[in-house]
Symmetry: C2
Subunit: 409 residues, 2 copies
């Protein structure tokens, strides 16, 4: 919204106002024109004019009467967000998932691709293209494609510059491969930043103004919304908290730095920890497991009351907490929402994280920062890919509704 | 524009357009109406109307003819930024400075207060008030007061929550003390964030869109401008990089955390380093010096070619570099500008910082991030306090020019 405002040519001002009305209805549900006027500061005349056009194009519609102040009745308006659908693609090293979502965030369908090895990457890219093309051809409700990719991702060039343990993804230029490939526009974002957008748009407990989505899975990253804006950096590589060093004398990382957080609490780090001689009793077949599987099994043991498994979960939680402290001093969000594979460690992890953060962060800041687990019904990165597309619709609706930006005669 | 006026809140859209024109002139110097139209996307008619009003109120004025494209001549417009002055106040633990600046960033006068001890804080606050009141009373050009305070500073409440080595400042509520105290509005910002604003508004080598001002003095912090916005956090405490831990097993900090960057490269840390037995030969009277003085003397020795002094400078530079790496992965700015006391270590420090960053950061990111020393003519935090006030004028000019926001009949 802010960004749009600074552009403000007359035609974009009407687009800006349209975006503000749709955003308000998206966030607040059925509302009267008077409620919209109060919240946006637009005049009644302007709202009548803009909503008439949005109704003509089917973007919003009138519902029955609403009970208003002093028993006055007024007509409700709703955004038809289930009328528009987006394709969401999650790239996560060996895992590629495609989902179909309504613009409301509701997931309609998920398709898992077979696990990807380094040598399958190029093939997988063309299979993804085929799948998306055929989906769009059969489903006219689809208005955009959103993609979430692991970082560090250079959004200007369209490529990932380092993927621990899966280097072939570096060879793919996502921008060149995908942005012009389909009949609808495609948008690509870093996975943790996508997750932050998902929390902001679809999360239950946020006003979308200040939050950090802390992704802890095969990689570690954070997406930050500060004062309503995604913190992105000059090339899209900001908030790469997995490569902030927590120990200048620590473990070397493939990125060239040492002591990167990702070396201590990603799924790979958990597997390494379980492989240490003193921990070998917990999962005897750990060597045969994928890092993701090792985590799932560990958490299952922890839930079942295995004290040794719980000890490991708390040890990992300590590192997760160090990341939280960096997020608090680095970005001062009002909420930290932990998601992805490690969030499945549940309360044993979360309680320990909160305890360590409380020990090390100034009380004023601790009290004004909530730390919770993601409660999105679907994986936050896949939902994030949908949010990447949905946020573009909310910012610039005319781009997705044919004919709406042509002035009415 | 008619359309715009009927759709948006008229007063805020005209103010927004006014702000855009003044900002353009502020950043680009004397320009023609056609140049403004091209850059802002406003119509010629709108620009004629808005600039006429700004000329009426003396905010901008016409200059002689400009040489235009194809030898067509056009009238130049300039922002009269030397007509407006601001008072800038820098709070830096023992040091309080007040400056008078033109809105252009030119410093007219600096007044140093006597060094402040913990027990003088309350007295100092009332002396500052007296000084500002009297300055405003004698100088009608002053339109605002800007203040820069050490962090972590809760901007919503108006107080500092921790000041290593100078706890009494925590007792001052800056917001209550100052924002209503004067005949002109007062604005308060965290010191490193103020410095970032100064670089963005008054620095020679930036477009003001993406930069980090890395303050290394009595405290350590960073101010970040991302996509034109200051990263501030929900309570103003973002970008407190001095309290990001670089060593989870490191030195304890007064804030409650361990291994905080501030414990390794602030003036106090430099003094401690010089006090270590193996380094005692470099400054024999180090125990008698204030941390700031110890740094100045060390840097003088280093410039004079003292190899031991240079070794210490490079040791400190190593920690400064770790901070740079965190800034790059944390915020991905296109420029890092190092300022305050430690920047006086000069090229011996800067070369080592660049060397270590290049070793540890991915080449793609290293190549697109410049690291330089601040080249502002006056101290960046004092200039920053001026920038805090100036940025408010640029954003909302009518607030500072009596009568300008009243519609013309």
């Amino acid at each position: 919204m802010k960004q749009a405002a600074s552009e403000g040519t007359p035609s974009s001002i009407s687009e800006l106002n349209r975006s503000r009305i749709i955003n308000f209805l998206f966030r607040n549900g059925i509302s009267s024109r008077a409620q919209i006027a109060k919240a946006t500061g637009l005049t009644a005349a302007a709202i009548t004019k803009i909503t008439a056009r949005l109704i003509d194009f089917g973007v919003i519609s009138e519902t029955g009467d609403l009970e208003g102040a002093m028993n006055r009745r007024s007509i409700g308006l709703q955004f038809n967000d289930s009328r528009y659908e987006v394709i969401a693609v999650k790239f996560a090293r060996s895992l590629v998932q495609i989902g179909i979502f309504e613009l409301s965030g509701r997931c309609i369908k998920i398709h898992d691709f077979p696990p990807v090895n380094n040598e399958d990457v190029i093939d997988t890219v063309s299979q993804i293209k085929q799948y998306i093309k055929s989906t769009i051809a059969h489903n006219p409700a689809i208005v955009a494609v959103g993609m979430a990719v692991p970082g560090p991702y250079l959004s200007d060039e369209g490529r990932i510059i380092s993927v621990t343990s899966m280097q072939m993804w570096k060879e793919v230029n996502f921008k060149n491969e995908f942005t012009q490939a389909f009949a609808v526009p495609t948008f690509i974002e870093h996975d943790a930043q996508s997750g932050a957008l998902a929390q902001s748009l679809f999360g239950a407990q946020t006003d979308g103004n200040s939050l950090a989505y802390y992704l802890i899975g095969e990689g570690v990253g954070v997406g930050v919304i500060d004062n309503g804006n995604l913190v992105s950096g000059s090339r899209g590589v900001a908030t790469e908290i997995g490569h902030l060093s927590i120990d200048i004398n620590g473990r070397p990382c493939e990125c060239g730095n040492v002591g990167c957080l990702e070396r201590y609490c990603s799924t790979g780090a958990v597997k390494e920890l379980l492989q240490e001689p003193s921990n070998r009793g917990i999962l005897e077949d750990v060597n045969d497991l994928l890092p993701r599987e090792a985590c799932n099994r560990l958490f299952k043991e922890s839930y079942a009351g295995n004290a040794e498994a719980q000890r490991i979960v708390r040890e990992i939680a300590r590192y997760i907490a160090y990341g939280c402290i960096n997020i608090i001093y680095g970005y001062n969000p009002s909420q930290i929402i932990i998601g992805d594979i490690l969030s499945e460690a549940g309360d044993t992890m979360l309680d320990e994280v909160r305890r360590i953060v409380a020990e090390r962060v100034l009380p004023d800041l601790m009290e004004s920062t909530t730390i919770t687990l993601s409660d999105l019904p679907t994986d936050a990165t896949l939902t994030g890919a949908a949010a990447v597309a949905a946020s573009q619709f909310l910012r610039n609706p005319s781009r997705f509704v044919a004919g709406m930006d042509t002035p009415k005669r």
